[in-house]
Amino acid sequence: MDEAATQSLDAFLQRAPYVRFLGMRVELAGDEMTAILPFSRHLIGNPMLPALHGGAIGAFLELTALAQLAVADPGRRMPKTIDITVEYLRSGRAQDTYARAILRKVGRRVANVQVEAWQDSRAQPIAGLTGHFLMRNEG
């Protein structure tokens, strides 16, 4: 893991109160980023199963996309989300969740990003996201 780069990216993300509310953090190996959503009771949607809230998973995937965009272009203002499509594949269990994003295209105005989240096995994702993000070029 790249300690200095991870710390600087994490510091950038933790400036957003909502990232701290979810408890999300990131790890970097070169330009490969893994987002981590440690399990916490306040993320539960269905206490009977128990299962993570679909909204919390969707939010985590979206933030992973934004974090990966920050890796690609550090220092830029956080892009604005235009739209997201979340596909739920398996119920999110009461345990830590991981996610990785692929920047399919980063244009001057719009970025197309895909994200996948998993728990025990990366080959068995629990959810995926496709999203479009508006790049904010200063000045």
């Binding site: 949607g45 969707g58 979206e62 398996r90």
Partner: protein, 132 residues
């Protein structure tokens, strides 16, 4: 109440058959971009997902276990700074296994939306649990 809905402070505004309305308050800890003090889009996502589930449960007339299959959200504009968000969902078609829902979200004015959404839910997931 689901712990996550509780943590977000979601409150029920109204419910009728096939329709539900819920609100998420603005709180410092929900801010996405500290420069603008606007509520994070993730909170809007969770609010919409939850309200869609409420609409389905009200359409079915009982609390049945459901699972989100797919959720598409268009973020039309950011909410106003330091403003909460309200969402209304309409479960407009239920089959034996799938529920289809549309939702809209706004901050101050019902006619000035911040987001629109379309979702599909699997119904009665207890009989067919989503297993890996």
């Amino acid at each position: 109440m689901a712990p996550h809905a509780d943590a977000l402070g979601l409150t029920l505004v109204s419910i009728e058959k096939g329709r539900g309305t819920m609100s998420a308050p603005w709180r410092e800890e929900f801010v996405g971009d500290p420069e603008t003090e606007v509520i994070a889009s993730g909170v809007v996502t969770a609010l919409i997902d939850h309200t869609c589930g409420l609409a389905i449960n009200s359409a079915m007339g009982e609390m049945v276990p459901i699972a989100t299959l797919d959720l598409r959200i268009d973020y039309l504009r950011p909410a106003a700074p330091r403003s909460g968000v309200t969402a209304e969902a309409h479960a407009y078609r239920l089959t034996r296994t799938v529920g289809f829902v549309r939702a809209e979200a706004w901050d101050a004015d019902r006619n000035d939306l911040v987001a629109t959404a379309q979702a599909a839910f699997m119904l009665n997931t207890r009989a067919q649990p989503l297993k890996g």
